[in-house]
Structure formats: C-alpha cells, structure tokens
Symmetry: C2
Subunit: 541 residues, 2 copies
Amino acid sequence: MTVSLAEYIERNAAVYPSHVAVICEGRETDWARMLVRCRAIAGGLNHLGLVKGDRIAFLGLNSDWFFECYYAPSFAGIELVALNYRLSAREMVECLVDSQAKVLLVDAHFLDLARVAVARCDAPVQLVLVGAQETGPVEIGPGEIGPGEIGPGEIGPDEIGYEALIAQGHAPSTEKGAGDDTLIIFYTGGTTGRAKGVMLSHWNIFANSMGAAPHYGYIKHERHLIIGPMFHTAAGSRIYSCALMPGEAVVQPKFTVEGFLSLTQTHRISSTQFVPAMMQAVLEHPDFTKYDLSSLRQMTWGASSTSEALLHRIVKAFPHVDLVHGYGATEAAPVITGLGPAYHRADFAERGKLGSVGYPAMHVDVRIFDEQDREVRRGEIGEIVVRGPNVMKGYLNMPDATAEALRGGWYHTGDAGYQDADGCLWISGRLKDMIISGGENIYPAEVEDVLSRHPDVAEVAVIGIPSTQWGEAVHAIVIRAEGAIPSEQDLIAFARKQLAGYKCPKTVEFRTQPFPLSGANKVLKTELRAPYWDPRRGVDP
Amino acid sequence: MTVSLAEYIERNAAVYPSHVAVICEGRETDWARMLVRCRAIAGGLNHLGLVKGDRIAFLGLNSDWFFECYYAPSFAGIELVALNYRLSAREMVECLVDSQAKVLLVDAHFLDLARVAVARCDAPVQLVLVGAQETGPVEIGPGEIGPGEIGPGEIGPDEIGYEALIAQGHAPSTEKGAGDDTLIIFYTGGTTGRAKGVMLSHWNIFANSMGAAPHYGYIKHERHLIIGPMFHTAAGSRIYSCALMPGEAVVQPKFTVEGFLSLTQTHRISSTQFVPAMMQAVLEHPDFTKYDLSSLRQMTWGASSTSEALLHRIVKAFPHVDLVHGYGATEAAPVITGLGPAYHRADFAERGKLGSVGYPAMHVDVRIFDEQDREVRRGEIGEIVVRGPNVMKGYLNMPDATAEALRGGWYHTGDAGYQDADGCLWISGRLKDMIISGGENIYPAEVEDVLSRHPDVAEVAVIGIPSTQWGEAVHAIVIRAEGAIPSEQDLIAFARKQLAGYKCPKTVEFRTQPFPLSGANKVLKTELRAPYWDPRRGVDP
C-alpha cells in the first residue's frame, strides 16, 4: 500500500472525532468536522471542473481556512500552491501562471491584490473568497455566501464564497492524491530572477513528518502553536505533522508578541517554533513575565543563526523547555538536521555544539561535497548535500534546474558547511549568494535585476549584511550612471514598486571604484561582503 | 526522491563510522565495517550470478551475520527471505521453492537441515555456510573459508564460506533496492496448509520504523537487545529501526534468561522487547535481583495477551521502565497499535486501558468492519482492519489471497476487536481460527491436514486452549476411525514427523459424538473451544 494524506484525516475523524484539529480566532474545528469540510472543499473543486493533478492556490494570513486547504485538496488529488503574501502582484502572477492554478482562494486581507493578479493572468483563475466568521456548520444554498463572509456588496459577479462552496456538500469525484503525487508546491526565490515551484509529494511530506517527530520530540495530542507564515514549509510541514501524530493546532493569523503570549497561556500550548528575532521580541516584551507559559515543553527554532547571547537568554527564560535548533530547506520538506535539547541545557557550553545545526534527522542523509561532487574529508568545508525520501520531486516546469539541484541523487543546498569529528553539522555560509532575511530566502540576482533597470544605476551588486533583527539585511552596492545622483531613498522606493518588501534593500551604498571581478568576470561577492562579516564565523562570509 | 535501506547504512558509515552497529557473542561491528561487509556480501551475491529482484534465504539463530544479511542484499536490490528455523525440512523446501531463493545462507546449527532441504529443491540453491568466530576483518583468498568457520572437513564441494565470499570484496554490480521494491519476505502459516510469503517493501519498512520510533519511544543511539527470533517481523523490524535511528544492537542468539540478564547488565541495554512468557521466566529466575538492570528505559511487549497478575509483577519489577504493549501483524510490517507507558504505571488501574492494545500508531489507520466490510459503530465487535504505508505489497505468488486480504484497500487481520469510546483498541479473539502459541501463528487447517492422514483418525479438529506458558496451546480433538485405538502419544509423534514442533498438538482428546456443525456444514470451533475459555474474555473465545 502507499501513503495518502487524506487517509490520516479520515483516520482522525474516525478514531478521534471530537479531538481538536485546529483553533483560530475563536473558531474551533474538531476532526469530525474537519473531515466533512475537507471532503466538501475537494468535492466543490471537482464541481468547479478541477480534476486530479489540477492545482489551486491559497493567498492569505494564517487561518483555520488555510489549514483546511492544506488537507482538503488531497481528497481529490488536487495540489495546493501556498502563496507568499509578501509577493508583489507581478510576482504573484508569475506563480499563478507557472503553476496554472485554476482556483485562487483569498482571504479579505489580500482581496485587492488577488483581483489584480487574476486579471493579469491569461488563463481564467476562479477566485474563491475566504472569510466566514461563524464557528458552526452553515446552511447556505448554492451561489450564496456564508454569514460574516466577505460581504455581498464586495463579492464580484464571477467570484465564489468559500463557505457557500462548502455548504453545497459535493462529494469528491476524483481519486485521492497518494504516494508520489504532488501534495503541495512552495515557491522559493529564483537565482535567475524567476521563482521556483518546489513540488513535494505525499511521500516527501510523510517522510518529513515521521522523521521530524522523534527528532524534534513531538508527542501525540499536544497543542502546537503555529506562528510562522503558513506559506513557508517550516510552518507548513508542522500542519501535516498535526494530521499524522495527530496534534492540536492553534493558529495565529500573523505573529505578534502579545498574541503569542496570550495564546500560549489560554490554550496551554506545549510546542511551537520560532525564528530568533521573534523570540527576542517576546523576551523584551514588558509583560513577558506576567503570562503563564508553563505549558510549553518543546520549542524548535531555525531559519537563521542566533547570537550566543540571545540563545543564553532564551535558555534562561525557558529552563524546562526542550529546545531544538533545526536546519532545513524547502526542497527537503524541510527538516535536514537538528541539535537536540541536551545541547541547549544550561551547561551547553561544555558540550561544545552550540552554534552548530546538529545531526541528521532519522530519515535524512547529509554529506559535504567539493566542487566536483566528491565527498570531502571530515572537518573540511564544502557544499551541504542531502538525500532521502523527504527530498522534493523537483522544480515545477524546470527540468534543467531540477537536474542540476538533484544531480547524482543528492540535493545540493547551496549552503557551505562541515561535519565535525562527531558528525555534527556546522553551517559556514552559502555557496550561492542567497540572503536569508527574517526567515525569507532572497536571491540577489532578482534584486539586482530590478535595480539595474533604474536609469541612474550603472552597475549594482546586492549582498546580505549582518542584522541583529533579521539575521541578514539586504544591502545594495551601486555604481551610479555617469552624471546621475540617485539617492538611497530613490532606489529603495524604485525597488518597492517591483518587489516584495522583504526583498528590497534596507540600505544602499554608492561606490566609485569598479567591482572586484573573478577570472570569469563575475563580481566577487565574497570581497564585497568581507568588511561586514566577522571572519571568525567561517569562510563565507 | 525515494527511500532505500542501503542509503541509511551508507549514512551511518559516513556520519557515525565508529558507533556500534551490532554486537554478538563478543564480535563487534561498527558502521564503517558494516558498510564494507554489506557491500561485499551484495557484490558476492552479484558475483554468484544474482541480480536485482533475485532472492536469498537465511536460516540460522540470531547473530550479527543474520543482522548483516538484513541490510546487505538491498545494496544490490536482492531480497531476503527470513526462514523460521522451527520449520520441518518439508516446510523449508516449500518456502525455498515458493521464493525461488538462489542462495541459502545457513549457520552451523541448521546445516544438516539446510542440506536436506536444498537437495529436495528442483532448482539449484547455492549453500553459503555462515559461522566465523573472528572479530576483525579476515584475509582469505577466493574459495577458502575463514578461521573458526565451519571446518574444512565439513564444507561440501559445492558449498561456499560466508567469510570467504566477503573477503573477495566484490563491489555490487546491480542497482540498490528502493521504494516499492521488496526488501524482505517473511513466511507466515497458511490457512490452507501452505505458508504465505509476506512481501515488505522499502517503503513498508521505512513507514514502520519511522512510525514505531515515536510510538514506542525509541531514541537515537540507544542500545537495543534483540532477543526474539530474527525470522519474525517483531525482532526483524527492530533491526531496520536500528539502521534508521540509528541504534546499537546487541543480539542474543536464542533467548535464555541468564543471557538476557547478563547481556543487559554488561552492555547497559536501554531498550528491548519481549513476549510475556519470556518476562515471566526472567522474573522467576533466582538471580534476577542480583543483576544491574538499571540501564533499561524502555521495553515493548506483545504477541500474546498477558494475565493482569503477571503485568503487575512486571510493572513492579521495572518501575522506571517505559512499558509499551504493541499489537501488530507481519502483513503490517508489523506495528499497528500500542498502549503507551502512561497506561502501564503503578496507577494504571485507574486509567482503565490495561488489557487493551492501545491506539493507532502515527502511520496507521485502524477500523472495525462487519462481515460486509462496513465500518461498525463505536464499541461494536468486528474484524480489525488496517491501512497505511506499512501494509505489505502482498503475498508472494498468491494474487487471490492478496486480493482477499487487501480487499477495499484495507488489510483484514482476521482478529476480532472493538474500539472503545476513546478510540482505544481491544482484541476480542480471532475471526479466523488461528492459534498463537509462544508468539508463533499456527493455522489449525495445517495441523488437521497432517493428522487426518493418520490411518486411525476419522475426523479431527484442532483448536487453541489456554496455556499459562504459551498463551495458547495446540489441542487436537479426534474422532477415531472405526475399530482403531490410537494413543495421544502416537498422534503427537505422527505430527512431529511432518510439522514444526510448535505446531504439533500438546494434547489430544478423543471424542465419540460427531462434531457440532454450522449450517454450511463447517465444524463449529467456537463450541469446541467454549469449555476451555473464560466467557468474560470476549466473544471469541
């Protein structure tokens, strides 16, 4: 037999019908209700003409609706595209066109953006407006919308209400997705300026959820707080784990410190995940000590490196919490390695592993390769490569990029690192010059492409520089066009029109000397980055 | 990407080269050595002419060699048949012929049996004699045998030494097994008198190992003691888990109480599994309290029901050990459900789940079906059915039996049971009349078939009756042939010539009245069993 996500929802509805599946903004869905709604969503999509292998996209803040859409399409073998809401309309269109999504589900926050994007797509994209406020099942006829949903005045003639679609109660008419079928697609920034759709199968997601569970120390029926954006695989994979364990999810629409504190206290949250900047904000909140956070037993952090001082503060603030530092990649669904709780205890300095990303997860093989894809000797720095049943099927519509990324049966992460004498993995930097800022992957080529179109820019190089808040910040180094005097603000504003905010330079530096070039006439980013980075952190930077 | 067992051995050799893989009788193999030997075994099999999809069989007590043969064939996509050494020569031939095994690896204990069985096979089966005593790598030329191996005088002209095969150092020349490829075949007793080969794929084994890990509470790098016979999936699946976690295995050739106690103490064992009869013997051993068993942190028990009195004794004897009661089936690779440590604590009576087999493992869906394969209402008794990525590919060469067992996408266990209000599973008995004695599955039809061939037997019915030592004991009820007066001993001796000892009746009862029959003229076993069983235990018995 094979694996199908939908079957775990069916199992949970049968075995644990009244256990919580998801809680969001006062709405609570148990597994029995989750199954009914998932089947109706899948059946509704079939009714709209979608068949197995077709795709839908979701654009919205975190919500129980987004949560449902993680599970529902698999009941009809339909694939979900989780859209990053920080993208510009241009980038959104790129993802919709590339994925050929036939339906775009959008919540009230991004309705304008969605309408603009859909209008720019050549192929028709059906808009489904998500946003009911009710907690119980709704009785609505076909074509009507649910109470509290985006109001009747606001819904366009060709648009559909999400609750109305569900209320039709169609049964799915196409087969469930399973095995190597694609379950979800996440877009990551592209090195050539075009986003790449990472296709993850049911097997990929199953392997990650099963492998992450013992590695991260999840237990059955615990309460997970989802605070990271669900359009990323870090939070997304946790949603799938909640189906398998099963677990109970509490979803915060968008991270705020107050929300984190009060949800944790109210719902007796036991497990969550964060990036260091979020936890720093939590610790610095004046009311931090006023909340009862004693229910927390496990927290996973990742996505960027952390100062040892901050980690000391976190350990001290949560002495009874099992901390795990995870390292992953969207292409690996995402867990690759983890540094477990023992290394985060108060005596961690003695263990000497703090700052590393730990050991391979159960299901993952990790090695370090040189430029010719040969394994290096233990302790030497090279590219971190990964293989295992969690590694993606490939990039959508990009056979060449897929073959390149998966050459020799290993996923090439583009991260540089080494394994120490114990096999523990340390990240040294990145081979590719991708920037990670606030947990988002940013490819300089994409930003450079936009800035270079500004008439006052002759040449531009974009790099990441250290940021206490974001891990890295996007920094542009510009050689002005002859006679032109653009300001930093001009260029940032110009970028903002074309790019998601997080991709825009935080700072611009003007330079008169030519860029340092390699033998192949490529800009030597290493040299540009060098003045900003502490050489003790590793080779690059 | 897909999954391949061989890649986890490669991972362990690369990341944890000097960690223990297996220890047996003073021989210790680390992961670096394990990889070298596995590759040489696979390469040796290729050299003997085997290619991907071919099969080898192993016949022997538990050992590090058997352990290697769990991993090695996957390096060349070759499949392992794990033979039950309790089988008779006739049964052994049946399995060899059915599986078309091209090589039979045999240790010194079963050499005579293996030679007899191989001589009776029509197709040639290459015998490989396993049994080196050395601990380090051996330098032997082609055709020679290793020191301490089955002696030169004993090796036949067409036979090969295992260490000699390894010493040739051939590299595997066929592709690794992966994904849906069969990894291992376990034979289970057949309802029609013929053993069924359960084919488990790489995905099946992966799903079970990953799902069992959090469910059973295994942790990385712990010491597992393998005491159950490795030709069963219960111990066998643990061997695969040791590759994935990874873990360190200590192998006891055959269970003895003294061995269990001294190995646990010497090797600081942290995790093991047992059937209740084994643990009863341990607790009753006069030196039990003299051993230091404080390293034990987790024990899994299963395979037969246990008296509450015995369970109380176990809980009291191991107050700090996490006890898990597992329920499984060879066809499910094997884990289906488990009752966790919390329910086994000293206060377990209050929790009211003791005697159940607990909740579905993460990766498994479990339901109760009626005779028409419709799900019954919660609390009603029916057949326990299972689906998930752990469920077998099917029975080898038996498409009809496979289709019947997996009908509707569910594996039909033949066990009767119900789910209580919390979804917790209780076993009521068996729909099929299979007997489980000392952890072995025995199909009465097979025993009846043999006994009915005795000239003094007119009719025979075989049932399981309660046994403190074995859970159930095989009991034959015989209607003598006209004028014949066979003795109980005659019939048992007759059965012993044809059947594995554990399948032979322990007792024979003579009956003069005809057997009670159903409307379809089938013997009503339920009525025959009734006088032996406590009706409070459930419907059947």
